[in-house]
Symmetry: C2
Subunit: 300 residues, 2 copies
């Protein structure tokens, strides 16, 4: 029921968001075309109990909120320019930790916090935080998930599964900051996004799981995407759980396509090929994924 409620609401928004820059709300970020410049703009929210656990360090929540928004800019090959925060106040300790994480992120990514709004939280209510990120794209139009073309190769940055391994380590009470970091403080691929934009076909970030996001890219592009599972780079902790690493999400790596003749100038792994649209959006080792495989996390 909730899923279809969200789908209906987004369909209603789509009828409102008719400007070309909105791209039918199919992308994680939009283009704002002004007379003499173009910007990429995005807004992501996080909700207590949905996107973070009440016991999680608020500093990590803040850092991740910045990181996931900047990851949306990275997927559009845009250099971050400014942040705006929407914040529901909690207790003073939580607020102070949140401000610390925000300061850490602003320093790490070199993007200014420009303003926003703070509001009070009704008693007993879960809190939500929202962030708007504004960036300047390296090329216009910025790459989107619709631009995969048959014959292109599919690439991914980094390793998958780090966020899941980190989440599980936190659940188990691990104090290994390096192991939990990919879940707590993901690294948006800003430089890679800027580098790839001028030559990329489709680009998106892997927020909801490689298989689901690749299927979305195929759907948006009208193609079939074939992934070679053995080629997918998976973090050491999940070496024996490749499907989990490919479906859990939250990794914020970049998934992109390139002509066969080109290779990225940075570390990335070729994991598949774009094909003309066949019976399935996605092929995993030549077959459609088993119907019991959940392709990824449909976040809400």
């Amino acid at each position: 029921m909730r899923e279809s409620g969200e789908e209906r609401f987004i369909a209603a928004l789509r009828a409102i968001a008719t400007s070309p820059g909105a791209r039918g709300l199919a992308d994680d970020a939009a283009e704002l075309r002004l007379t003499n410049t173009t910007l990429v703009v995005t807004h992501d929210m996080m909700v207590e109990g949905v996107h973070w656990l009440p016991e999680q360090d608020a500093a990590d929540v803040a850092y991740k909120l910045v990181a996931v928004n900047l990851s949306d800019l990275a997927a559009k090959g845009a250099m971050p320019q400014a942040l705006l925060l929407g914040y529901m106040l909690g207790d003073a300790d939580w607020d102070a930790r949140f401000a610390q994480g925000l300061a850490d992120a602003v320093e790490a990514f070199g993007v200014p916090l420009l303003g926003g709004d703070t509001v009070s939280t009704p008693a007993g209510s879960a809190r939500s935080v929202g962030l708007t990120a504004i960036g300047r794209p390296a090329v216009v139009p910025a790459p989107s998930r619709t631009d995969a073309r048959p014959g292109q190769a599919l690439w991914v940055t980094g390793e998958l599964g780090g966020a899941l391994a980190g989440f599980e380590a936190m659940q188990a009470g691990s104090a290994d900051a390096a192991l939990t970091r990919p879940f707590r403080r993901p690294d948006p691929r800003i430089e890679e996004g800027l580098a790839i934009a001028p030559m990329a076909g489709a680009t998106m970030d892997v927020s909801d799981g490689l298989l689901l996001d690749a299927a979305r890219m195929a759907e948006a592009s009208g193609t079939t995407i074939a992934i070679d599972s053995a080629a997918v780079p998976v973090c050491a902790a999940l070496a024996d759980r490749r499907i989990d690493a490919m479906t859990w999400g939250d990794d914020y790596e970049l998934l992109f396509t390139l002509p066969e003749s080109k290779e990225p100038s940075f570390a990335a792994t070729r994991i598949g090929t774009v094909l003309p649209r066949g019976d399935h959006r996605l092929l995993l080792d030549g077959e459609p994924p088993a119907t019991q495989t959940r392709l990824g996390y449909r976040h809400g």
Copy 2:
């Protein structure tokens, strides 16, 4: 306690938001200066039970969310360019009404919805909605509340008290849409803001009550502002409750200062004078407001 928690958090944010465009977070909107353009950006949130009542029509909540953000742009003399929505899903009927109100506002104000995020709402939780508005200022730097200078005249657009009269009518079950409209669907003063920007001193919108907002303007400018209460335009329904009309807020009129030699090109009323900073930020009919007078609504 909560008030000081918010103040502490904002002080922490201020230490992070050090770029000149953030203006020390003292303003409702920020300037984003890019290589070849400057934008004005703002983000306002509304929370169920704080900014709207559960029984209120969601279409009006959406419309007001857009209006209050555009009012922040109006105060900076900026033409709206784009909106981004952060939305916590509710039940399907509420969501549908919200989308309708959003469509109404997008049409009324001619500003495109470009994107945003929808997230689910934990059971039993109050919902929050956030909106980012991006505009282009008529002049750079855009006017701010810091620019009142002794000798200038103080002006206000429209009438005050309409929102309070509308709120009270709604509470009393009135079906008079015209009477309740100023509370449900305020009109941001976009054209007036654009017209005044090239010649204005200080400009801000009256969101929290005339007396409180005027005191804030005086504080930010290092001046004293003297208001002649008999000159303040008050809506007919509150003719006998002038202090209520000057303190309840939610009217979204523009409050601005001009040199004595100038008058606005649109309908507005002169209500006071800017003086050198004396013992008090605010004088009402020559005296500091009675200590029991609540100057306005400190929203949170």
